[in-house]
């Protein structure tokens, strides 16, 4: 977005009212961060991202503008000092800008009372999600923005943000997000799962807790990983083992923790020790070919991989299918009755 040539009168007034103070803070930040401090990025961030928030706050709580400007200005200085503002394209800085431009104004009624906390949370969440491979940031932003008018407090914002982060693919947040969601108003929590068409949040919540692959209207299973030469993370076809948290994967000299559910799959850094500690006995279970189809126990494996060397690794809820002929891992819900 091109910075608007002028900022809104409310923002201009607030800056003018404490001009010396803002100049002092800028000077201090410049000295503190030295070469890293980008004044051009600060100007652009103030004109675009901060101005949008201030306009929205002025529309709902004019009396809070000065406080919001003060908090937003400090955050802008911090972000610019760390080179996190003014990004374009698909990096964390770019997503941060989107969150400030789209979501923060929609939350003006929550920002106004506690600007430092709410803008800080949104900034950190944007940077955190954008740094996680496999998270659908645009989905999180769209769903948060859609529900923003229904959020009344920072606590609701915090819990909903966590819930939607899990829905956007942050599989490692699943249990924490579902725990946080139990504190949300039922209607708001249900609204986070529009595809379920459910009317009873407690029942849906219990189902989500019990089955990580429960996702109304969508078949289970997903695929993760690709050859590092084509931009993936696996330098060699991965070996998979199960542990208490999920799966541990070894590929080349690197090791990963693999977590997956109906909403996403996440590869996180792990160690060789974790891989070696993962149960070898649970790692390789027999895969049989019957009638030209692959079976794990009585569960049919819908995969295009050749049977030779195929490995199926199982946790209580998930099957991970890997092959020496592929850099990808297929993840399938385990059929409890048959597996």
């Amino acid at each position: 977005m091109t910075p608007s040539p002028t900022i809104c009168p409310a923002f201009a007034g607030a800056l003018a009212a404490r001009r010396a103070e803002f100049n002092r803070r800028t000077h201090e930040a410049r000295r503190r961060h030295q070469q890293a401090f980008d004044e051009a990025a600060l100007t652009a961030f103030l004109r675009t991202e901060v101005d949008g928030v201030v306009r929205a706050v002025a529309a709902v709580a004019q009396e809070r503008v000065q406080e919001v400007v003060s908090a937003a200005y400090d955050i802008a200085l911090e972000l610019c000092g760390q080179g996190l503002a003014g990004g374009v394209g698909a990096g964390p800085a770019a997503f941060l800008g989107q969150v400030w431009r789209k979501l923060a104004p929609a939350l003006a009624h929550v920002v106004a009372p506690l600007p430092e906390q709410v803008l800080g949370m949104l900034s950190n969440a944007a940077l955190h999600l954008a740094a996680l491979d496999g998270v659908r940031c645009s989905q999180w932003l769209d769903e948060m923005t859609a529900l923003a008018p229904r959020i009344q407090t920072p606590a609701e914002l915090r819990s909903l943000g966590q819930l939607l982060a899990w829905r956007a693919g942050a599989a490692h947040f699943r249990s924490g997000a579902l725990a946080a969601a139990s504190g949300l108003p039922a209607q708001l929590a249900l609204a986070a799962f529009p595809e379920s068409h459910a009317s009873d949040w407690d029942a849906l919540h219990a189902r989500l807790l019990a089955d990580p692959w429960h996702r109304p209207g969508q078949a289970g299973g997903r695929e993760i990983g690709a050859f590092s030469g084509f931009g993936g993370v696996f330098a060699a076809p991965p070996q998979v083992r199960a542990n208490d948290a999920g799966f541990v994967v070894a590929s080349g000299e690197r090791h990963f923790l693999l977590l997956a559910d109906a909403y996403g799959a996440m590869l996180l850094a792990a160690t060789r020790e974790e891989f070696e500690a993962a149960g070898q006995a649970r790692a390789e279970l027999p895969v049989e070919t019957r009638g030209g189809q692959l079976f794990f126990g009585r569960q049919a494996l819908a995969t295009d991989l050749p049977a030779a060397g195929l490995q199926v690794c199982a946790t209580a809820t998930t099957l991970a299918v890997s092959s020496p002929y592929s850099h990808a891992i297929r993840l399938l819900p385990r059929e409890a009755a048959h597996g």
Binding site: R31, L84, A125, S175, A177, A245
Partner: protein
């Protein structure tokens, strides 16, 4: 919001380590990041070892301008360069390495022991000691006020406290004289600046506080709380205004040297001047340790295991130094300590040699042996370093790294020994840390050469005895006695006596005596 560089603490684990427990993911991580977000993003409770590592990295990265990474760890081969005419090695370690000037004082804090900073004036010795005081939660002003500054006129009363004047006049007995104890005695971190400028008599009073943790004036006693001690001296040889009494020097557990400032870091120094920043005033509150936390750290450190092979190598190293064959007529008294107590001149002992290879014999490099206190301290610091690194047991490298700082002035070199006359060892005459590390390496090489890791008959006999004597028959006892006697004969046959052999023979004598006593008891049944 403050833009305070000094308030930042590393949020990532400062020493990533294999997770001993199942992974737990905190959904609150979503809101943790570079922007302060108040209570919404409060940091989770950290493990104490991680907290200590964060304190270390805060001090190294924020408070100290030019750290030297002289405690080197490697994970795989390190890059090594031979530099200059002397071909000294510059190593680029392949694993997380540490600055002794910060790490040893921190381990001292965690174990509540005593650390001496040495080095020229203005190198940050006192500043580092103050940082340790702040780490204990005391305000900077209080730490500075409680710091004792050694000076030639310092009296015992200056150090410990005065009797109340009214009591001196009115008291009918010594018990009625109350003492106004100095406030520093209550501190959990005690700092004595320039301790080698304290008069000898006052040093003796200081020794009581350091050694026994109480102060005494006119028969009144003040019990000090458990505390870590930091002392500074411009000259580690004790050449200050007064000679430091040996007992006081012996109470010091580790000595670290403040190395020179690297002018390449002048920019950071300039920024600090311009910003008028004093790091000790800016230590983040999250890094401060409560007394309970320090207690807990001490317990966790004591729980760190010392594997047998590491212990054996330390035993072998320590065995090298005490033997002095010409000093004693009776086997047990052939020690350097016997000669020292008798006041025998060192050159006479050196002249009365028995034909050992004085270059190969590590014992020839020192004028004394190791005390129990030295070994205790060594084990405590090795455990503390292992714990700091997130390990459950001590590695040989942990021992190797702390050893020079613990034995810095405990193991005194004999600079007339042939080892120091070799051109390649010339630097060891002045570099005590390098010499001690080399000494430990040489002992380890010898241990490996002798194959003691695989075949240690004395260790096997000791282990057999440790298993207990319950149910051991008379016949079996006799067999064991014969085995010991055979081993003694074998070990002594035509061999020169070296330190480790001397200790092995004494151990065999001990085992023989224990079995002999047991045999006598069996017969009496």
């Amino acid at each position: 919001m403050r833009f305070d560089f000094f308030q930042r603490i590393s949020r990532a684990p400062t020493n990533p380590h294999p997770a001993p427990k199942p992974r737990e993911f905190d959904v609150a991580d979503l809101y943790r990041g570079p922007v302060a977000a108040g209570a919404a993003a409060e940091a989770p409770q950290r493990a104490l070892d991680e907290k200590l590592r964060q304190a270390y990295f805060w001090i190294v990265n924020k408070a100290i301008i030019s750290p030297h990474y002289d405690i080197e760890y490697n994970d795989g081969p390190a890059q090594r360069y031979l530099v200059g005419d002397a071909r000294r090695a510059l190593t680029l370690p392949s694993a997380q390495s540490y600055s002794s000037f910060i790490l040893l004082p921190l381990l001292t804090f965690a174990t509540r022991r005593k650390c001496l900073f040495v080095g020229g004036p203005g190198r940050g010795k006192t500043a580092s000691a103050i940082l340790m005081g702040v780490l204990s939660g005391a305000p900077v002003r209080e730490v500075k006020r409680a710091m004792q500054h050694g000076h030639p006129q310092m009296t015992v009363a200056d150090l410990l406290g005065n009797p109340l004047p009214a009591d001196l006049v009115a008291a009918q007995s010594m018990d009625e004289i109350r003492i106004a104890w100095r406030s520093w005695l209550r501190m959990r971190v005690k700092i004595v600046d320039e301790y080698n400028r304290i008069p000898t008599r006052t040093q003796s009073a200081l020794l009581t506080v350091m050694g026994d943790n109480y102060a005494e004036v006119l028969g009144q006693v003040f019990e000090c709380p458990p505390s870590a001690w930091y002392l500074t001296a411009n000259d580690d040889e004790g050449g200050g205004t007064f000679q430091v009494i040996e007992a006081l020097r012996d109470r010091i557990d580790v000595i670290v040297q403040a190395l020179a400032f690297n002018p390449r870091f002048l920019g950071d120094l300039l920024l600090r001047i311009e910003e008028d920043v004093r790091p000790e005033e800016l230590m983040p509150r999250e890094l401060v340790f409560s007394d309970d936390e320090v207690d807990e750290m001490g317990g966790a450190i004591r729980d760190i295991a010392v594997p047998e092979q590491v212990r054996r190598r330390l035993e072998f190293f320590a065995s090298q130094f005490e033997l002095c064959e010409p000093a004693g007529g009776q086997f047990e008294y052939m020690t350097k300590d016997t000669a020292r107590l008798a006041g025998t001149p060192w050159h006479e002992l050196a002249a009365a040699e028995n034909g050992r290879d004085r270059l190969a014999d590590l014992g020839c490099q020192t004028r004394n042996g190791l005390s129990v206190r030295n070994l205790t301290t060594l084990l405590v610091y090795a455990k503390a370093l292992a714990w700091f690194r997130g390990n459950a047991e001590v590695e040989l490298e942990d021992l190797r790294q702390v050893l020079p700082f613990v034995l810095h002035d405990k193991l005194r070199p004999d600079l007339d020994a042939p080892f120091f006359a070799l051109p390649e060892n010339a630097a060891s005459r002045s570099d005590r840390v390098g010499w001690l590390r080399r000494l430990f390496d040489l002992a380890n090489d010898e241990y490996t050469r002798l194959g003691l890791e695989r075949d240690d008959p004395v260790g096997a006999l000791a282990a057999q005895f440790e298993a207990g004597l319950d149910g051991v028959s008379e016949r079996e006892t006799r067999a064991r006695l014969v085995k010991i006697e055979k081993l003694v004969a074998e070990q002594t046959r035509g061999r020169k006596l070296y330190g480790h052999l001397y200790d092995d023979l004494l151990k065999l004598k001990y085992l023989h005596q224990r079995y002999t006593n047991y045999l006598a008891w069996l017969r009496a049944q």
